[in-house]
Each structure stands twice: as structure tokens, then as C-alpha cells.
Symmetry: C2
Subunit: 131 residues, 2 copies
């Protein structure tokens, strides 16, 4: 079976609010809203504040995950939104960037799953038989 | 200030062991070993088993995160290892691929952080306006 299982957005954002980037409760709320905006289902959420600054948060989703890592001292954050099946990672991405007031954003979209070039090698029947 | 904050490995792996891909305890142990192999520090680990099959696990690290999502029915998993500062994401990646017996692996390396070329483009205000 050949298919793409999901879309993974890799987001680098600059000129965001240093105060918000260093606020774990704001990050927590932002991720919850991003999950909702993307139409995804939250399984678990971990938010961690670093010393002297910076926040990391990972949202485990039924659709895969959202993660964010912030550098308030640079006004920068790195996020990624990996959605499989239902849901829209672009909406989640926009919610995060808006909530953290990023003014420069670079988003790279990566399709995850099966690579036609790889699939031509006919390796999948072996896998199915092995299940 | 311009700098690269870390390396993000995007891993698509095929022909892995369906049984191991569907074993949450094996996935948990694999991630713990991957964190150790990569010289990283684990903050939190979430492992979730889906019905009828598939496992998702996210490891929140002091260095960023490792995430894995498995499709046992395809012998496929998607993983990513994002390491900032110390540590070696390649070692973590190799540990995961070996533990899950993947025979075909595609890894893309993405440098995260500041990109001088992007900073000159000033294209992001459009996205912010579009939210």
C-alpha cells in the first residue's frame, strides 16, 4: 500500500514576544488552542520552563504531535506540527505564530510516509506478510 | 543575533519489525536508550498505544525533543530527533532505527534557528495578516 501518512510543518519564527516566549502558562494555552484550531485531539501535554529562560512544550496528539522550543533572549522559537489523518497543521501553525506575535516566520512542509522511489523496490509485501 | 540553535533530523523508516512497532514498552525503552545514546537529558516521556495498532511516543528533552509515530501495518515509522546544544541526534536516530529493525531509512537534516537569507525577505507579515 502506498500512501503519505501525514504532513509535518517545520516552523522557525523570529521577532516574537520575548515575554510571551518565556511564559509557560501562555505556551501551554497556546498549544491547547493550536490543537483545537487544527482540529486535532490532545493525548498529553508537557510544558517545561528552563532557567534562566526558555520554554519547551510537547503536545502528543492522536494525529501525531506539536512541539515548541523557545529562545526568549533571541525572540525566536522553533515549532513543528506533525498531523496525520484528519486535522489541519497550517491552522495550528498560524495559531502558534499569532499567539506568540512572531513577525518573521519560515515554514517548511514535509510529507511523511511512503516514498514512491522506495516503493518501487517492492518491499511492502514482505512487511504485510510479516505482520 | 544570528545563530543555528540546533539540528533536527526527520526520519522515515520502512521495513521495520511490525511486532516491535506495536509494542509500547519496547518503544518506551527504545526512546530512553536513544536519549542516552544521544547524550541528552530526558524531562518527560509520553507513550500511547492506538487501537487497533500503532504507537506514538514523545520524549521532551532538555535539548528539545524526540518523537516517534508507528504504523505497524506498513512496517513504517516516522521519527524526529531535535537536539539543541550538547548531544548527538545522529546517535539517537541510529539507536531507534536499530532497535526497531528498520531496513530502509531516509533521514533529512534540518538546521534550526537563524537564517540570514530568510531574515532579509520580510515575507511573513502576509501570513500574520492572513490569520
Amino acid at each position: 500500500m502506498k500512501k503519505t501518512v501525514g504532513t509535518h510543518l517545520i516552523i522557525d519564527a523570529w521577532q516574537a514576544s520575548p515575554a510571551l516566549l518565556n511564559d509557560p502558562e501562555w505556551i501551554r494555552e497556546t498549544l491547547i488552542q493550536a490543537v483545537e484550531a487544527g482540529g486535532a485531539t490532545l493525548i498529553d501535554l508537557c510544558v517545561h520552563q528552563f532557567s534562566p529562560h526558555g520554554v519547551t512544550a510537547t503536545a502528543t496528539l492522536a494525529e501525531s504531535h506539536i512541539a515548541i522550543h523557545t529562545w526568549p533572549e533571541y525572540g525566536y522559537f522553533a515549532a513543528d506540527c506533525f498531523f496525520c489523518g484528519e486535522g489541519d497543521p497550517v491552522k495550528a501553525m498560524k495559531m502558534i505564530c499569532k499567539a506568540l506575535q512572531a513577525k518573521e516566520i519560515r515554514t517548511r512542509e514535509i510529507k511523511r510516509g511512503f516514498d514512491p522511489k522506495i516503493e518501487q523496490r517492492e518491499f511492502m509485501p514482505q512487511i504485510i506478510e510479516g505482520t
